[in-house]
Symmetry: D2
């Protein structure tokens, strides 16, 4: 059994608490949050202990792992403390909005030898993972092009987005990780353009809501990512892999399978998942299972801290390209 302390009792934290409680291999021991009532409420629900200070957790030798789901600006400090206390870590993305701070974090923990996993949950989604597996099994020969569609169901307030680090670090970091996961290569060139077509107020904070990104890899593979902050028909997340022998598509799952045929045509009437918690429910569960399995079998966790760092560097490059209007070359 793996004993968990959950750091962060917000919406995502609540989901993680539920998954830990539902796992036959995990126990939720502690819930920490700077907001005490939230911590207490969540802890009570799962018979865990709510704590005001992280030290109590770090000093409890029975705690095997931290699940970090606090606000982004606290991740680095908590990772360092946890790693130095010898705890395994599963940390929500992004590690930090500043790549410099991510690198500094790495310097301080790289010798700690604790398992660290970054929560790129989409790698564990059954359809995305199914596409990757079939690609690996050679169904479509050599991969040549990758097209990723990434549309959020709705946009947050400008005030919230002001502190998000910009659309590339906040939203597309998942897609940069998907690019690396599917291609198995690093980017050598990134080009990004964007517009404010959904909320013009974003211009005030120098951000955009509609984006197209082009990426080239060392071996010449081509990748395109398109994204938008609002998609009225639901959370639209698709991946298309085109190769020398065919194409694989990871399409959106549908909420039901009723179809209607009337004089004007045939309507599937089924809608997409409203947002990421519903869409990636199975992925979140499989991510936790994978982390637990790594701890129990003493095998490396994945995606790693380095994976988190690499996606961040790509986000920085995309942001730079958006501002400069030119492609950014990378040598990773």
């Amino acid at each position: 059994m793996i004993n968990f302390a959950l750091l962060g009792a917000g919406r995502i934290g609540g989901m993680h608490a539920d998954l830990i409680a539902g796992s036959p291999e995990a126990i939720l021991r502690y819930v920490y949050d700077t907001d005490q009532p939230s911590a207490r409420e969540l802890a009570n629900k799962y018979s865990a202990i709510a704590v005001e200070s992280i030290e109590q957790i770090l000093n409890d030798d029975s705690v095997d792992a931290l699940l970090i789901a606090t606000t982004t600006d606290t991740h680095v400090e908590l990772i360092i403390k946890g790693a130095q206390a010898g705890k395994a870590i599963l940390c929500e993305k992004p590690i930090d909005l500043s790549t410099e701070r991510v690198l500094q974090c790495w310097d301080k923990i790289k010798d700690c030898q604790v398992p660290i996993q970054i929560a790129f949950n989409r790698r564990f989604d059954p359809t995305h993972a199914g596409l990757k597996r079939q690609l690996n099994e050679g169904y479509i020969g050599l991969l040549q092009q990758l097209i990723i569609t990434s549309r959020d169901s709705d946009i947050a307030q400008v005030e919230y987005l002001r502190h998000s680090g910009g659309i590339f670090r906040d939203m597309f970091i998942h897609d940069f990780d998907m690019f690396r996961f599917i291609t198995g290569e690093e980017a050598t060139e990134i080009h990004a353009i964007g517009s404010t077509l959904i909320d013009p107020d974003l211009a005030k904070i120098s951000d955009v809501d509609s984006v197209m990104i082009t990426i080239k890899t060392k071996s010449g593979k081509l990748c395109h990512i398109n994204g938008a902050r609002r998609c009225v028909y639901g959370y639209d997340q698709r991946i298309e892999a085109f190769g020398s022998n065919g194409m694989l598509q990871s399409n959106n799952p549908r909420s039901n399978s009723v179809s209607k045929s009337i004089a004007s045509g045939t309507d599937s009437m089924s809608v997409l998942n409203p947002f990421f918690i519903e869409r990636y429910q199975d992925a979140y569960r499989a991510q936790l299972d994978s982390f637990i399995l790594s701890l129990m079998t003493d095998t490396p966790t994945s995606p790693s801290f380095t994976d988190g760092m690499m996606a961040q560097i790509m986000a920085d490059a995309a942001q730079e390209s958006l501002v400069s209007g030119k492609p950014v070359m990378l040598d990773l």
Copy 2:
């Protein structure tokens, strides 16, 4: 080159004239119709000769084949005359509304040794024929059940239907042939129920507009046919073959492939073909090609006169079952 005389210059006749004219292996020599203006108009369009009497056609040795597309009650007489004059015959279904007359017809022509093909055009439809081919190739193992959906787009006037021979002889004769084509067996038992759910006036002529038929074959295979005289979303014609190793479905082709995703769901917006001439255009062409190829290579035509007779016997049995309320046993 095969020289054709077309008997019947109505809507179906017009379509056949067009197909003959478009075939590189066929020439339209004559058009015959009791309605002279129709015959002349059609003949002029394709530089053929309009005739008032069929004798001129029968006496012209250059005529190889008759395509009979006149009203049903004239088929038998024209088949007999044509066969006795040594002409090959492609005759629209049904041969006649009376099975007795069909059998008498057979007695008179069976020694004539002319190729006769009955126009069960659906056998030549690319998707239905594709299903049959894959079934033969063993993709789904042994066939166990067959489900045929057969819905016309709209119902004719009661006055017209009064002379149609009833829904089984008029409309489902095609489906009975499909049953024989797909299973490769004869029926041993037929049960039919029906209702007037579309046009209550049909009750006045003791006919129905909504039908369900169940058929059993010698080897125990089960077949269901459902049909309706009106289907608001278009001409719905599907076949499902279920076997020991899987299922094949011949679905409706779609008129276009645009889809629309909005907040309420995803709509294909594509409609079915309006009716049989559009739906089975390729099938009608392939049927003519097959007839011509049989003549040119001196191989048997198919479906044969016997196929036409067998479908008719099934239609009679279904009608008898509808009236009696009991299954009808057959020993064919």
Copy 3:
């Protein structure tokens, strides 16, 4: 909160225990099974009490409801005892293999005034229920025809099926209930044919494995059910409703949404659910929620004991038709 006693700790019982434990409105108090180790193991898992005798449950006033998931031959006795003790009852289908015993049961409990719900879980399946809702909302006008496809993924041993009551009572009782649920009418005529195409040994116990059923309602609606005991591509459960203004189809949900396009065509690669527990997981949960809600709001449970009885009478009629080879008339 509703306090439950679970009767029956087999596979289905285990699933129900899990659903009760997972419900925020329910508590699992007791687990009863004649097999004590099974009862204890299941009770321990959910901190419930394992009992050897049902009397302890009936005498405990804190128990609100019984969930009956024992073998079919014990249902009637348990229902009677439970009802007379004033417990609400959610009972697995079928009530009994003998309609006579079902009627006797009804005589004994009809004055008890306890809520009774029969576990026709498919009524709660999101796609089937969605079809019914859209039908009620008038999307396709008046219902004219109903086509139900019901294929189990695999067949049980003949020895097990010997005591199943025959394919209609064991397997199609669900489909008869679906017929009543969707049409909102009673059957006036049932015709059934069957074959042993999957396991010839079924003939020894006078049962069949492949079936086609035709049903007519008072208003003349037509219904077809086809079914098979083995379907290699998974658990195939579809409903098609055809009406004056269109068609609704409840299609199979898919396990994932990856598609593969290669030279030979496009393959969805997604498989159907393996069997009913996976396919109807959401339906089982919604069924329990509906039962609990009825108890908490003091509203009638549905589907009712009468619904259970009606489906049984239809199964008897289908069995009679199979044996006699003739349609059976009903006046319900």
Copy 4:
């Protein structure tokens, strides 16, 4: 009736001859080709006159229109001669590989007042045109993003491609026109990257076979085009329009609609059209009809000479971006 002279008796010329002959409003008078046997064979097939010199055509007042389907390097000369002789012109794309020569051509013909249409046939494809129509009707609100997939079924020999003007002018000129057709705007910025992933020998002629293009419009709309010279599963041509209220997708039509469900999943087994002549057959016909209708009703032809010029300028910009590695700004 419109009297046509066809210039060019190659494969595309043959298709156009067939369409002209099949049109009830058109007559094929002349066929011209520098290869006399080809011209004669095609002319004979449709009872037209084969000519060695274009002058005979230009001097015949009965000729209303030229359909130019000769090699690209002859287009400009033939357009100028035809326009100066007062003939209406339907010219295959591209006008010329050199935008300079296209501009010079325009200078010479702009005062001739003859109708000129450039053969961007995809505008007339039922699904692409259906998408455009629904976009215009406001189904998805304001267009924000456009994604075009454009994959040829197979690549030509390097020797042939050496004279093609490069992948952007030869292949993507159609997609640049689609971009303009769908968005109704001009590009302000074009960025292109490419690789030789299919035929490495293309590097010898400084060309690529795999391409991703990003385009921004004046109003900030974003467009992505991806393309490849070889696609093993057929000719893959899709358009996705994403807007403020939804998404429209123009998907590939399928050659048939048989599907197969077996233990490993469900396979549509239907393949895409092999290449453009099959895929865009209806589009070519509708294009001719539109040209003829414009002549008969004295309304402007579309797409115009200017449309042809604009697509060419975009192709030049994409080529420049590929070589320079930087986006190219346009002010059109």
